[in-house]
């Protein structure tokens, strides 16, 4: 997982409320074999509409997405996080997120920032023309116009994102404990390993 310390850049001024994971990535993308390339399916239906922010050259390759309430609701598909990541998004800022989406985003190195609606409105305005700066260490979202919004984050998630530590990496950090357990089982219950047919 890539480290995430500060993210500075353009932001998609999306703003839509109750965006479910079917909107983020439609179900026919579930028959794929890669996490990569799913950006092509991201917001597929919305992107059929002319003038949508995702195809506006002014916002191309933005690392930040600004959205409305209850972002990522609906199906638990992890593909939604994969699609955003593949689109190059590292931070989603919204007034609230579904728990499952938040967890999936975090597992894939994407920061979800919860800010009040007034802050969202202001950032939507700034994003039309200027960049936005997210600092995870300081837990702030700032602009060059002296805007400064603080956000909360679970300390464990912050630690993982700052260090680029994924859960697998953390568990493997405990590989000694796993090895000790395996050695004990090999002694106590040697029949646990499947017989080779």
């Amino acid at each position: 997982m890539d480290k995430l310390t500060t993210v500075e850049g353009k932001a998609y001024p999306f703003g839509m409320k109750n965006v479910d994971t079917d909107i983020i990535i439609p179900s026919h993308w579930l028959k794929t074999i890669s996490r990569n390339g799913m950006g092509r399916g991201a917001f597929e239906v919305l992107r059929k509409e002319p003038g949508n922010v995702f195809d506006d050259p002014a916002y191309a390759d933005s690392p930040i997405l600004i959205a409305g309430d209850n972002f990522g609701c609906g199906s638990s598909r992890e593909h939604a996080a994969w699609a955003l990541g593949d689109l190059g998004i590292r931070v989603v800022i919204a007034p609230s997120f579904s728990d499952i989406f938040s967890s999936n985003a975090f597992k894939n190195g994407i920061l979800t920032v919860v800010l009040p609606q007034e802050a969202i409105d202001r950032l939507m305005e700034v994003a039309q023309t200027d960049q936005i700066h997210v600092d995870l260490e300081q837990q702030t979202v700032t602009t060059q116009f002296q805007d400064r919004f603080s956000f909360e984050i679970d300390p464990f998630r912050k630690h993982c994102l700052l260090g680029g530590l994924d859960e697998i990496g953390l568990t493997l950090g405990d590989a000694d404990g796993i090895g000790v357990y395996e050695a004990k089982v090999a002694q106590d219950r040697p029949w646990m390993i499947p017989a080779v047919a």
């Binding site: 794929t32 074999i33 890669s34 568990t171 089982v185 040697p190 029949w191």
Partner: protein, 483 residues
């Protein structure tokens, strides 16, 4: 004094690698089943991070969801191409990933191939007291053998592949007790449906169930697999049966089960895997066996059950406003009206298969009714999809395939098939299927498809009459019992 523990707590305690201050535990996983739908991105994650599969010897890969159930090899033994390019791609990924990571693969042309939840027990890969996971919610099936088994997501699949562990919080415990004897014509599927109806689809959320009582003790392993399979339809990620003599007899001499002195040692440990007398469950549900009858679903949730002799319920009869709305929506989708007799509902499709009901006993039960009979003229399509190549071979040795084909059924190759229609086996929109599978969700068997969940015997009965039918009527005729 030693703490009294439930079966679940004993298995949990035996698998704790590390206990964190907040109560979360790093739990060791003894068995990992892998199929083609939820594993490609997990293997890709390993590849990108330069990681290996920690214990390929505890991992078994079997394709099942996307495989067509039509012949897979031509007369010359060459592979017949799979029409859907996305299905073909997922299958090819598994065939590439398994050898690359040293994981044993049971391939599409191997006689052992089948639905992962049929193959695991059949091969003796599933054992009592093990922790077993798979990227599929019906992994609960393996609890029939006393394994703590549950479905996981793709990130967790990758976590298990890399570390052979999962970070978990302990679940609450629920005992589901069914005492007495099952009535004439009542099968394990009816028991499973009755439990879903009684508990509701969210009633088991956050719990691990243990099935207790004489009905479950008397049940075969095939029957227990049907019941444990549907634990997830009552919201529980896992459902356990304490291992007993029936379990040991089933597992002995299975290819991947322990042998010789190892077997004896294993059985000795398995015998300790029972809930201590006096151990407390967080919740108890009691159902009288005498109250369970041949059952069908009328709606679009597995909790929407009713006796086959009953009528479609009136949405107005539900107390909760949201339930009333949901029931009306279900009836609209299903094309049914309140008060309609279930026995008057005409059926066009019959599906006998799925990880719920595709084992040899299921096929025997259906074939027993179909012997010497034919499907009704209104049945457009009837199909049997055995759960594995070995089930298929056994059924053919018993002549069951001939009974099915003589009756007008198609006899197919093993896989998940029309349970969820990821392969070409789908029910057309607006048409009605009596299905031995586990989910009657909207669109599950195909867009607009209408599903009635039933037992294998009830599916056979519906095939014969062309409508939902009380299997006891046909059984009585067969046995010459006066009505």
């Amino acid at each position: 004094m030693v703490k009294l523990r439930t079966l679940y707590e004993k298995i949990w305690d035996a698998h704790v690698v590390e206990r964190r201050p907040d109560g979360t535990c790093l739990i060791y996983i003894d068995r990992h089943l892998v199929h083609e739908v939820t594993s490609p991105q997990a293997f890709e994650g390993l590849r990108l991070a330069g990681r290996k599969v920690r214990r390929p010897d505890l991992t078994l890969a079997v394709p099942d969801h996307n495989l067509p159930t039509t012949p897979r090899r031509d007369a010359d033994g060459h592979r017949i191409p799979i029409a859907d390019p996305e299905s073909a791609q997922q299958l090819a990924a598994l065939e590439r990933n398994a050898p690359e990571f040293g994981v044993r693969l049971i391939g599409d042309a191997d006689v052992e191939q089948g639905i992962v939840h049929v193959v695991g027990p059949e091969q003796g890969f599933t054992l009592p007291g093990t922790t077993l996971v798979c990227g599929d919610s019906h992994t609960s099936s393996h609890g029939a053998l006393g394994a703590l088994a549950f479905g996981i997501g793709t990130s967790e699949v990758e976590h298990v592949l890399a570390t052979q562990t999962l970070l978990l919080k302990q679940s609450k415990t629920m005992e589901v007790v069914v005492e007495g004897k099952l009535g004439f014509g009542v099968t394990p599927k009816d028991v499973a449906l009755a439990i879903c109806g009684h508990i509701g689809t969210a009633g088991g959320t956050g719990y691990v169930m243990e099935y207790r009582g004489s009905v479950f003790r008397d049940m075969s392993i095939e029957g227990r697999l049907t019941v444990a399979n549907m634990s997830i339809e009552a919201g529980a990620r896992s459902g356990l049966f304490a291992p007993d003599e029936t379990t040991f007899a089933y597992l002995k001499d299975r290819p991947m089960a322990p042998k010789g002195a190892d077997w004896d040692a294993a059985v000795a440990w398995w015998r300790t895997l029972v809930t201590d007398e006096g151990a407390q469950f967080d919740k108890t549900v009691v159902i009288d066996a005498a109250d369970i009858v041949p059952t069908v679903t009328w709606g679009t949730s597995p909790e929407d059950v009713v006796a086959v002799t009953g009528v479609v319920p009136d949405p107005e009869s539900f107390e909760d406003a949201s339930k009333r709305a949901a029931a009306q929506k279900s009836l609209d989708y299903m094309g049914l009206t309140a008060g309609q007799k279930l026995a008057d509902v005409a059926i066009e499709h019959i599906f006998i298969g799925s990880c719920t009901n595709s084992r040899i006993e299921d096929l025997r039960a259906a074939a027993a009714l179909l012997d010497g009979r034919h499907i009704a003229s209104g049945i457009k399509h009837a199909m049997v999809v055995p759960g594995s190549g070995l089930v298929k071979r056994q059924a053919e040795a018993e002549g069951l395939d001939r009974i099915f084909t003589d009756a007008g059924f198609e006899w197919r190759e093993p896989g998940c098939s029309a349970c969820l229609g990821m392969n070409p086996d789908k029910v057309p929109a607006g048409e009605r299927c009596a299905s031995t599978s586990n989910r009657n969700f909207m669109g599950r068997q195909g867009p607009g498809a209408r599903t009635h969940l039933v037992s294998p015997a009830m599916a056979a009965a519906a095939a014969i009459t062309g409508r939902l039918t009380d299997v006891r009527e046909l059984l009585k005729k067969e046995e010459g019992i006066a009505q």
